[in-house]
Amino acid sequence: MKKIFAAVVAVIMCCAMGVTAFAAPYYNYSFHRGFVTAEPQAYTPYKVIDSVTMGLFDGTNGMKLNKPEDMSASPVNGDIAIADTGNNRIVILNVKYAQKQLLCQPTVITETKPVLDENGEHKLDENGNKLYQAVVTDLTGFMLNGIRYKVNAPEGVTFDSQGRLYVCDTGNGRIFRFVLDENGKYQCDRLFDKPKGLDELLSAEGDGSEGLLPEDGTTVAPETPEGDTEGDTEGDTEGDTEGDTEGDTEGDTEDDTEDDTEGDTEEPDQPQTDNATTNNQYKPIKVAITASGTMYVVSKGNHKGLIELSSDGAFTKFTGATKVKQTLSQLLNRILTDDQKKGTTLNLSTEYSNICLDTDEMIYGTINSIEGSDLHSHFTSKSEIGAAIKRISPIGDDILKRNDVYPPSGDLGYDITRENYSAMVDIAVASDGIYHALDNNKGRVFTYNVEGELLFIFGAKGNVNGAFTDPVAINLFPFAAVEDGIIAADDPEAETYKQMIIAVLDSSTGQITIFKPTEYGKLIRSATMSQQNREYDRAIEQWNEVLDQASNSRLAFNGLGRIQYVRGEYEDACENFMKAYNNVEYAEAFAKLRNEKLEIAMPWIMTVILVLVVLFVVKAVVTKLRHFIKTGGKTDE
């Protein structure tokens, strides 16, 4: 009987476990001062979405995602855009991950049409049969101002705060903007062509004489004439987009169409050809858009930092470039001849791999192309050069907080081997400032809080659900979370939890993996936020709950210690900081504790010293007096 009961319990437990998300194929860990500690799981994989579930491919028809490079979720209605780079198209999914619209889907219509002779009559062959021919019409692409545009290997899609979709046409060196029409479809309304003179600026670094940037790391735009239509050969799109200076939607499209009809007077019926140039130095791969329309563009192979474009697509400046190391070989470069310089390697600033904006419109950037030695010095001495994650202010300074012992740059390596460190390819910032960085090297997601402290790590490389082969993009899916039932709509903390649903796009498998937080993950998050909002009673409660689940949690000890420090409970603070291996804050709390104790002890110490001094003086006087009395005031002589 007992055995049967045990079996039943086991079966029930298995079922219960099966109902929840599938088991995570990785272990969660944290590291500090050279030792790794196991931590409870903070996130579990919830769902995997592939081309079939998206409705792109039914087994025989359709096109699977082919090497998608980027993904973005609309903050307005939760639509998800995927840059299907290998298929030269953009896939848009609705909030339920089902296909909604395909931009630039290859559509070729083959019609059978009668062959007409010179007189417009149906041509006959020798046998008197009517002649037909197959006419192939390529309808791939989307229309803008009467021109059919195609994208070539797009590597970046981004929604701005108004839900407009920006697509980086990487191969053709331009950016398209799409807006939602009344049918819920995305229509192209704006083209930001390659800014004038940018190619020359970008290729300027190739001459080898200088890989150095100016001190502040920014380059100012060269003087470009406003209306440059005369310079262009065929009155093409470039002139149009730069012609309109107002950054608004409706008015622009009208202006553009007028301009266009002026431009191509010969054949108004025929769609104008798309004068795309593929041989560009300017290869936009990622873009971030501020509320005012300023665009920050990451261009492939560009070592001058981010490209800042104004809302009308004109080049403003380079910003946020990492300062390069001054090496001995650079001093040597000064005395080399031009021929010799060609043989030396360039010392270039690292290029960005991805960017995104936070709620304060600061740019979070990830950098992948860092050398192992730079990363090593970054982890040991927080040097600026090896930083894999940056937060860039509008003037180009890195303002990311790095208040923990180790800076937020992913995994810690012990030497200069590059493979031991993370290769950050994307970053997602929640509205409360907590950010997730995606490591392509080991397939891990690193979550940090505003102070730059590591909250948790999850993810792995592999072939099972929840692991990645080539992760390229990470996004928050707040809308999909509610729609998917991960979060109940009436949950009091729904707003917080919404920001915790993470989606990771795998380029090689073309799958999106949705992760949902565990109770532990939620607890850490809400405790962090309570502390940040100075709700200390609540935070203490939550940190203690965290300690129930993970009794060595450095985060919890640090959190408790800080609250106790603020409240003046220095002795407890010292103990907690010690448990968190936080010797810096321990020393601060200890100094307060010591001063507090000194204040009590000082009167006693001073009293004792005074008494001793008085006794000493009295003794000296007494001996003097005795001596005086004995000798009767006479001197020794």
Binding site: R33, M578, Y581, N583, V584, Y586, A587, E588, F590, A591, R594
Partner: protein, 217 residues
């Protein structure tokens, strides 16, 4: 009991000479050698205290100045002791070897004694800092490191004076001798490691031959 007390009294009387050497290095070390003021018991005590003070600092210095204290599992007193012994031993050995070649006048015994007496400031400073660190915060880090450096410099100065007086070298000759002694220490360590590895190899060869033979016959 009556026998022990005079022995102890004499011992403490001898021990006082350590402080005399600290403050009057030239005269102190001269008398140490020529007037036979050195006592083996005192020297051994100093060496033991040198090792103990290092261990005590590691174990008991306040967390602020000694982050390793929080992780007792990272402290291994046996390896630490071995390192202290090895350094002092190498110094004495190399010192004797080099100075013998350089016409130094000190014997092994002299070297052993003056090295021990020179370590006194380091021992005192380390012990004092272990106690003081309990009352110091991060703001007093500068004081802490200054005192620590002071102790090390004093010991260095004593070693310099001791070498000079014991071996009858000039000022520059002593510096040169100390540099060569350090070089000798590295050389000895290197040869020791080399010897160890070669021995291992030879053992490996012999063991292989033994295996071969037992397998075959």
């Amino acid at each position: 009991m009556n026998k022990i007390i005079p022995v102890l009294k004499k011992y403490f009387e001898d021990f006082k000479y350590v402080f005399y050497c600290m403050l009057h290095p030239f005269k102190g070390f001269w008398e140490l050698k020529h007037d036979k003021k050195a006592r083996t018991a005192v020297s051994v005590t100093l060496y033991v205290m040198f090792i103990l003070s290092g261990l005590i600092f590691q174990q008991f210095a306040a967390y602020t100045f000694n982050p390793a204290a929080i992780r007792p599992e990272s402290i291994n007193i046996f390896t630490d002791t071995a390192v202290f012994v090895l350094i002092v031993g190498l110094w004495c050995y190399s010192n004797w070897g080099i100075t013998t070649l350089f016409n130094g006048e000190g014997s092994v015994k002299d070297i052993f004694h003056y090295t021990a007496y020179s370590l006194a400031p380091y021992i005192i400073v380390t012990l004092v800092l272990t106690v003081a660190s309990q009352f110091m915060s991060m703001d007093e880090m500068a004081i802490f490191t200054t005192v620590q450096a002071f102790g090390i410099l004093w010991t260095g100065m004593l070693l310099y004076c001791g070498t000079m007086v014991t071996h009858q070298y000039g000022a520059l000759g002593t510096i040169l001798a100390i540099i060569v002694i350090f070089f000798g220490m590295f050389l000895v360590a290197f040869i020791g490691v080399l010897f160890f590895f070669l021995l291992q190899q030879i053992f490996g060869v012999i063991y292989a031959i033994y295996r071969e033979l037992t397998m075959r016959y």
